[in-house]
Symmetry: C2
Subunit: 399 residues, 2 copies
């Protein structure tokens, strides 16, 4: 690691080496398992809803021209047909001139009818119905295509599939959808992780796995390896996951076992040293059309690299990642980051006199799980900035 | 349905009848399956990290008093011990006066040592090391509790479990956590759904199921029933899910099969008619300590009830629901809702001259899946408001 690479340079290099969405693996997902996945196809709607004119009132299907003279003082009398039109198939009969048919909300108008009169403007009498108010053509009717129409873009490649898009796919009678096969694997590196005697169990991988699931990945496995470039390289060559995340082994000064392992894959693209703080020892590489992200094993540094580098990289690739909520707040204390480094400052939010304040948590650095647990969110300090002053308005991204 | 009940009244009534978080069913979830669930316990941290003083540099563990006289021109010479301290268990030896021990970043200081000197300020020579710069007590050392400490609130009841909270639970050596057992079942009501000939497949339930999963529910089953109060009531009495969502059968005028079925359960609390637009025929009830939400079978009305009534109800109960991102935008066209009704206006977002505009989608009402698919989010119009004027700044909740 000689110099730190700006995040934008890392993103452009990795995306160029990956070759865009075209080169991502694709699989077919049944609709019930497609939520949260990214579409690998362009889907345009091909039908109309309602398919036929539909009554939006309980009342009578009529011909508008028949009831033109109707008024409260001088009703029009129509012959009542025997059928009751309920929601369901299109009625088989044709409404003749001078006829009315009982219809429920949601029922399709019979051929011949072009309006519906609400029940409150009518009186039924024997085999006929008196209409006390005229209706215009297609009044109280939902027209074909009003609820759903041909030619609507349901999905573009890279769009995240959510409930409303799933509903539209179901309406298109799709049982499955092509999605990107975004499998991920996680490796924890460190001799100390293999020893019980470290004094505490490993925990950062839970944070990383959950982040990956949030970002739409299927986490296939989490393994542990010692400080052994050969073992790490062998793990990297195995499996078929598109993304390999290695935690640990990226430090300078002889402890870069993971970096050596990645180099041994002869990656098409590789940077060691990313301008994010904390997390700057990260290593991002592309080998065999697959992405490798080697990040710190410390929780804050790991999350910082995922949020500030991996997330924008995936977005630049064309994936519509979920958005985190953001709030504006006034900064309670100055936050500084060396110019040239993107910063990841955890903050607590506090209401003070009706105003929202962001209180930076200065408790430790890369390893401070304490600051993550206590924080409500973080401020992303841009590379070109030195930070923010006390009292300045900042945008807080919520966890 | 005689009158519409304001959302706040529905929420207070239902929460009172439910009796708060205390009466929710609880289960034990293994950590790997706990993400996105709501904690049913209060968890406070009980350990320190690092557990012992830890070097944050590669170099030498020393006694600060021994190197007090050290300077670039006059180094202090210390006897070098044979051990190399690496990340892992606490060293078994004690550092004597005048001694130094090689230590890697992350290694725990041996007893006796109270500082670390970085390798760049030293020169090793035979069995000793020359220290060219003095260090203060605990310099280059991370102190116990700096990264993680006793007494931190990891979880309160009702908090949603995310990656950082999972990591903290793992560090506490927890293998599982008590969570609320929020199972949900979905029933689609409508004779027309049982007939192939409706012309299109059912689809709204996919939107509803996905919403329930987003809100932290485990969706156990989705069934279909005809317009038959007895069949609906029998389904409602079955299963052990805490939440039953029934779609359809809540309209006025004889089509309230679902409402009749709910009445037959002798619910402790029940309202039919909720002041949300669309979705006002909804029926919310509490029977046998379980919540029943009968909502429209039409997609926009269903989502409107879920977002504007069920979500705040669950929040009021004490569950920390996920937050949707919100953006401020200028309204491109007036949006009006009858006073007394909370409104759910779908909008598209457009950049116009650098400014974000929200364009209301006036295409149809309750059934307009088209408007949901085309929208970027919605504007929630408060009950007490008639809507918003053209040009007014509004808050758009993003899908």
């Amino acid at each position: 690691m000689r110099k730190l690479h700006p995040v934008s340079e890392v993103i452009e290099g990795a995306v160029a080496a990956l070759g865009g969405l075209d080169r991502l693996p694709v699989e077919e997902a049944p609709l019930r398992l497609a939520a949260g996945r990214y579409s690998a196809e362009h889907v345009v709607s091909s039908r109309k809803l309602p398919p036929y004119p539909k009554s939006v009132v309980d009342g009578y299907a009529v011909r508008a021209e028949d009831v033109l003279p109707a008024s409260p003082s001088s009703p029009v009398k129509l012959r009542l047909r025997e059928e009751l039109v309920r929601p369901g198939p299109k009625p088989a009969f044709q409404l003749g001139s001078g006829e009315a048919a009982r219809i429920e909300t949601g029922g399709y108008l019979p051929d011949g009818a072009d309006a519906a009169v609400p029940v409150e403007d009518t009186v039924e009498r024997g085999g006929s119905v008196l209409i006390y108010r005229r209706v215009a053509r297609w009044e109280n009717v939902s027209m074909p295509g009003e609820e759903y129409d041909e030619g609507i873009t349901i999905l573009e490649r890279g769009w995240r599939i959510d409930g409303r898009r799933l509903a539209a796919l179901a309406l298109e009678e799709r049982e499955s959808v092509k999605v990107y096969a975004l499998k991920a694997r996680v490796l924890n590196v460190g001799d100390e992780l293999l020893r019980e005697s470290a004094g505490f169990p490993p925990y950062t991988h839970l944070l990383v796995e959950e982040w990956l699931r949030w970002a739409g990945f299927q986490v296939e496995e989490t393994r542990f390896a010692g400080d052994d470039p050969e073992a790490i390289a062998s793990w990297l060559r195995g499996g078929d996951a598109w993304l390999s995340v290695v935690m640990g082994g990226t430090s300078m000064g002889g402890h870069d076992y993971t970096v050596k392992a990645i180099e041994s894959l002869s990656p098409r693209f590789m940077v060691h040293g990313v301008a994010v703080q904390p997390g700057k020892t990260a290593c991002i590489a592309v080998a065999q059309d697959r992405l490798v992200a080697a990040i710190s094993g410390l929780p804050v540094a790991a999350l910082s690299t995922l949020e500030l580098a991996l997330k924008p990289l995936l977005e630049r690739l064309g994936l519509e990642l979920p958005r985190r909520p953001r709030v504006k707040a006034r900064l309670a204390r100055r936050v500084t980051v060396k110019t040239g480094l993107a910063g990841f400052a955890r903050v607590r939010l506090e209401k003070r006199g009706g105003e929202l304040w962001a209180v930076p948590l200065m408790v430790g650095g890369s390893g401070s799980l304490k600051s993550l647990v206590a924080a409500h969110g973080y401020i992303a300090v841009p590379e070109e900035s030195e930070g923010f002053d006390e009292g300045e308005e900042v945008e807080v991204t919520l966890f």
